[in-house]
């Protein structure tokens, strides 16, 4: 890394080397059968150089040919965008206890056993349709070095566990996921939860076309988050496409809504001391008591807007990211402040409505404007506070800026990721009844 930076330094005003070392062991059981195990072990390198005030970027997979990386970045910089920001000097070395060295060489058989015992549990409870299980042990070491003198290093590990019970005659079904920095036994309560969701979906219900209450479960939260990510991004602000432009300090949502960017949660695999530009991350209120508090910025958008980076420069998009994804402002981890009603009471309060469990099509619709229109996918029809069965052939649509003005309640409970169950009044529903 140092050699690469040294070479780049000779050809540039400023440079930055980004190196990610990844090791992944994934296991997939489909209908109880273990599939191909695709181990991954690789290194990826990103080089950004600023030469004659212009930015050039290159990527590679080997540190053995640093000359080529520098040559490509210099070439790109000839036509690159003009840059006025500086790479940071300092970062954070804070640990959020999300690294366990044992996960780096976690035995495949232990993952397989975990999957097998879960499959047995469901089968013993009478589940006859296919059970799919995904288990992943992963580790990543990220190092960022730049000519301002920064050397930032962060290691994380994670064990991911997903169980899915396939609905009869369908290709998918309800699922639960668990993510932790180290291995922990599967919580039977979670298995029971999934079993209950699965049982509730056995009966199919047609849904009428009219406005009704709609509950977003934590699994459905991405429909809302993707729209919010776009709106709070410094990029959208600069392009004047954010509906939140000019709304700082103003009430935009129901006053019970508080959402924070929190990259510092202990044991959470996603937690980060610094972003993909080496800038220190921070806990940041995005919406507090319904009032819009902060946009998020990376180095580029912060400089253009005349402010500081909030430590939100990530190589990621709505679809995930890779080494070659340009850095843009993106939250690390949003969390909600819990509400005042239990999930059970929220369901009781639904005179008529839909519970959205795994909606389909969250990426369609006018995302910058906050609009969505999703197939219910897996969801339930509720009448007089009682789940009637799986809602089929139905769509739910709305606009987050209108819907959050018409919020019924936020659950007391949050899932591991800090997501609540949100119940909205009068949302547009289209069905076939």
């Amino acid at each position: 890394m140092k050699k690469l930076l040294e070479l780049a330094k000779r050809q540039s005003d400023m440079s930055e080397v980004y190196v990610s070392k990844v090791k992944i062991t994934p296991l997939t059981f489909e209908n109880g059968e273990l599939q191909n195990i695709n181990l991954k072990h690789y290194i990826e390198i990103g080089l950004r150089i600023i030469r004659n005030s212009k930015l050039g970027t290159s990527f590679g997979t080997s540190l053995k040919e640093p000359e080529k990386l520098v040559e490509q970045a210099v070439f790109a910089s000839k036509y690159g965008p003009k840059i006025e920001y500086k790479f940071p000097k300092e970062s954070s070395e804070e640990s959020y206890n999300n690294y366990d060295p044992e996960i780096e060489n976690f035995p495949i058989e232990k993952l397989a056993e975990d999957g097998v015992s879960a499959i047995k549990w469901y089968t013993n409870k009478g589940v006859k349709t296919p059970v799919n299980v995904y288990m992943v042990a992963a580790s990543e070491e990220l190092n960022i070095l730049n000519t301002s003198g920064l050397f930032a290093s962060h290691k994380m590990t994670e064990i991911v566990r997903v169980h899915e019970l396939i609905l009869k005659g369908s290709g998918s079904g309800p699922y639960i996921e668990d993510e932790w920095y180290t291995y922990r036994k599967c919580d039977t309560k979670k298995l029971e939860q999934l079993l209950k969701i699965y049982q509730n979906a056995q009966k199919e219900c047609k849904v009428p076309t009219r406005p009704m209450k709609v509950m977003f479960t934590p699994n459905a939260m991405h429909v809302i988050y993707w729209r919010l990510y776009k709106a709070i991004s410094g990029d959208s602000l600069l392009e004047h496409i954010s509906p939140l432009e000019g709304k700082l300090g103003k009430k935009i949502f129901d006053e019970r809504v508080s959402i924070y960017e929190n990259p510092h949660i202990k044991n959470c695999p996603a937690s980060r001391p610094f972003d993909d530009e080496g800038v220190k991350t921070q806990v940041l209120p995005i919406i507090e008591n319904g009032v819009f508090k902060n946009f998020i910025f990376d180095l580029r958008t912060a400089q253009e807007y005349g402010t500081q980076s909030t430590g939100n420069g990530y190589k990621t998009t709505m679809w995930g990211g890779s080494i070659s994804t340009p850095v843009t402002p993106h939250p690390c981890h949003l969390v909600f402040k819990p509400g005042d009603l239990s999930l059970a009471d929220q369901i009781k309060a639904m005179d008529e409505g839909i519970i959205l469990n795994s909606p389909i099509g969250a990426h369609s619709g006018n995302i910058p404007a906050g609009q969505f229109s999703v197939n219910v996918g897996l969801g339930y029809y509720v009448k007089d506070g009682v789940i009637q069965g799986r809602a089929i052939d139905a769509m739910v649509s709305g606009n987050i800026y209108d819907n959050f003005q018409n919020l019924h309640s936020i659950s007391k409970e949050l899932d591991f990721y800090g997501r609540p169950w949100l119940l909205f009044n009068n949302m547009s529903v289209a069905g076939k009844k």
Binding site: L39, K40, A112, S324, V396
Partner: protein, 453 residues
Amino acid sequence: MIETLKKGLSMCQEEYADIRHETDEIILINLKGKKLNTISDSTTSGFHLRILSGGGEGSNSFSDIKDMPQAIKESVAAAKIGGKYTTKPIAFKQAPPVKDKVTISPEEDPRKVPLEEKLSLLKHYNDLILKYNKIQSTDLYYKEWVKHKYFVNSFGTELDQEQLICYISGEIIAGDGTHTENVRVEAGGYDSFSKIRNREDVFERKAKLAIDLLKAPKVTPGTYRVLLNQSMVGVFIHEAFGHFSEADIIKDNPGILEKLKLDTKIGGSLLTVIDDATLYGHPGFWVYDDEGVKGRETILIKDGWLRGRMHSMETAQAMEGELTGNNIAVGWKYTPIVRMSNIYIKPGEKSFDELLSSIDKGLYICDAKGGQTMGDQFSFGAQYGYEIKDGKLGKLLRGINMSGNLFTTLKNIIAIGNDLKFSESGGCGKGGQTNLQSGLGGPHTIIDDIVIG
């Protein structure tokens, strides 16, 4: 490189082994509004190794050649563990061994076009869009992806393949101060740079559309008879049906397999659906897939009857199917999975005017904006649409998303036009792999009883 891979292969004494080395050279330019956001030039490369042993399959993606012996050892161990936890041992249907070199000869090779020219062409299109008052912003990409793949396997196959895809794609955002609308734009999608030159009409048309949508009313949710344009039909057949013809999706799903037995009538007699990797000039063109099987035309539905599926060597063996050459990985980091190449609905006989005039009340839905399937449910968005009244197009509508169930919807196709057209660029996400080499198309088509939200 072939010799290096063969040396690696000689270290494996297992039932089956293959090794692929891939170099990806990618040029990316991104303009956001008036600003140039990124220019990058990159070369990444790595290996992917697959081993069958003891009834299981282990594979390994690694970037450093010195890790090869360790990768082989780990893959063999993984395969053996895999075999222990399955009641259905994995085996591959043997493809005829082939030794071949596939090179490309584009009409205009983008590698010979200077970067400066690529940038100025992208800027030119961007300026055309931004000249309109109500255009708020753009997010335009030029992407050029050259792949060089070497592949050897223990059946004796040795391949050296080159592939290239270049295109412009992105988003146009219009705004009037209170409201924004976005539409997508694309040009190119295969190996020749000439396909993205002289395309001013595409960018101008989409810019005007985005502005017109600002004033357009939102569609009223409900159930409609819909006329889909070619882009929508392509996405519909890809999302709603195509994925269920990928054998790896259904292999271990007895419930779906029961519904999708070959020689089952699943659609009206006017419906024929084909997947074809041999269609040069479309994104899903390839000669050999990533396990060395030759790409071909596969008839999936013929006159409403389910007749075929897309296979890998594994699924062809497990399901007693034919080898179709559909097993593709999007790069060395990934193991190949069954993918569509160019999927399309075969054209029928009706003209657009005949289709339109047959609808008393309905919607004309145009240009796809992303789709997703979950099991037998699908959902996808349209960039715009029109009301249809008494066989005539009415006002422009926005905010259209359609959804439904695969099985009922296929049966609800009531008329197919004669105007087959393929989308220029494609793209499909499956199993964490976003495949740009995915083409789709179809003629104008009428479907009944579609839920619009």
